[in-house]
Symmetry: C2
């Protein structure tokens, strides 16, 4: 059986759910996630089972086979690379990035995704800080992070995660080029208002305490000279 948009979505959501639980996934959960009726879910599960993507236990739930997991993981990979590419290369606004990727992930080929990954410099995390599965299937771990509000002045960091998901806030960060994987230096910390002064690409930026509490950064281990590995 050939996979299409709908079945790819089923496998993607199952994969995401099974990252957080090992019990079989119930019909209702998928029905909620995919915004279709439980009957539609049962229908697709039976088809996916008959072509070996899932192990389906009637009335009990469903687990992915290796074959299905591979597809699901690849959909997650596509989605996250697309999100990053849309954000960083094509300047798509934060609030539009997700739904845009949601449509493209079913139309884009693996070779194009691989090219995007190269263009992005083999990133480990998407704009939300979620890990991007590599082509061989490994999923990167988060580096140990610190809130930017608690970072040390004078040190170099990389943004590894943004906690808030409000569209306005994220667009604000986007304007500052304060997105995931971005390198920055903490210049100063003002005790009186708990604001943080950082420099991003030689640009000095003042961040409120609120902002600094939403951004998780990781110390940059090795200082690499600019343009060292073009």
């Amino acid at each position: 059986m050939d996979l299409n948009k709908s079945k790819e979505d089923y496998l993607k959501h199952m994969f995401l759910l099974l990252e957080k639980q090992s019990d079989p996934i119930k019909t209702t959960i998928l029905s909620d996630r995919l915004q279709v009726s439980p009957a539609a879910v049962t229908d697709q599960l039976q088809k996916l089972a008959s072509s070996g993507y899932i192990n389906y236990f009637k009335y009990k739930g469903v687990l992915l086979t290796d074959k299905g997991s591979k597809v699901g993981k690849n959909m997650v990979r596509r989605h996250r690379i697309l999100e990053l590419f849309l954000q960083q290369i094509l300047s798509v606004s934060w609030d539009a990035v997700h739904q845009e990727a949601e449509r493209l992930e079913h139309a884009v080929s693996d070779t194009v995704i691989d090219q995007m990954e190269i263009k992005l410099g083999y990133p480990k995390f998407d704009p939300h800080g979620d890990p991007i599965p590599s082509i061989d299937g490994t999923i990167p771990n988060h580096d140990q992070g610190v809130l930017l509000a608690h970072a040390t002045s004078g040190r170099s960091y990389t943004v590894v995660r943004v906690l808030s998901d409000g569209a306005d806030f994220l667009n604000y960060l986007n304007e500052l080029k304060l997105f995931i994987n971005q390198k920055l230096e903490v210049r100063d910390y003002h005790e009186f208002d708990r604001s943080v002064e950082v420099s991003i690409q030689k640009r000095k930026v003042m961040l409120s305490q609120y902002t600094a509490l939403q951004i998780v950064v990781s110390p940059t281990k090795f200082q690499i000279k600019k343009g060292a590995n073009k």
Copy 2:
């Protein structure tokens, strides 16, 4: 009625056909182009007519309304920008570019297309030399072109168009670096087999009559020193 992949394709093909003819388009032509049965075409034409995208004359053929023409032209715009973006930014091979764009054109939003256009520097022509409709609907004209087979020995030309779209042939051209915007000089023309000898980047290449008839070139008006306007 909402447009989907299928209807977008119908309108795109109608737009392309109506660039070359003003008579109503016959059912059979669309049936051939879209690789579906004539009955399927009639079916869709009736739906497109009832929502105002086309003027449908039973048994006679079909013309686009302004509304339909706008959609068709926009699909062409999407397709051609995608082809160029895939080729130039994402290094997709020439033979893969078309089918890749064919799928993406239905999934990508206009805002992303506009961003790609900016990234590409508002290009006028796609990798095949076909004009890219601008956002306001204007379609750039070709510089006056000549078939390479009819070009004058000793003169300098720029490739402005490739007529064939066979994958093998385009890959062959790719190996020769004989793609759009490429500059070349016509060295010699052999009457006995109508082959053409050209030099591309100081490399001498022999082209068969067949090849020379597929390539449209435009005389290079001003000789610009290499690296003059990086």
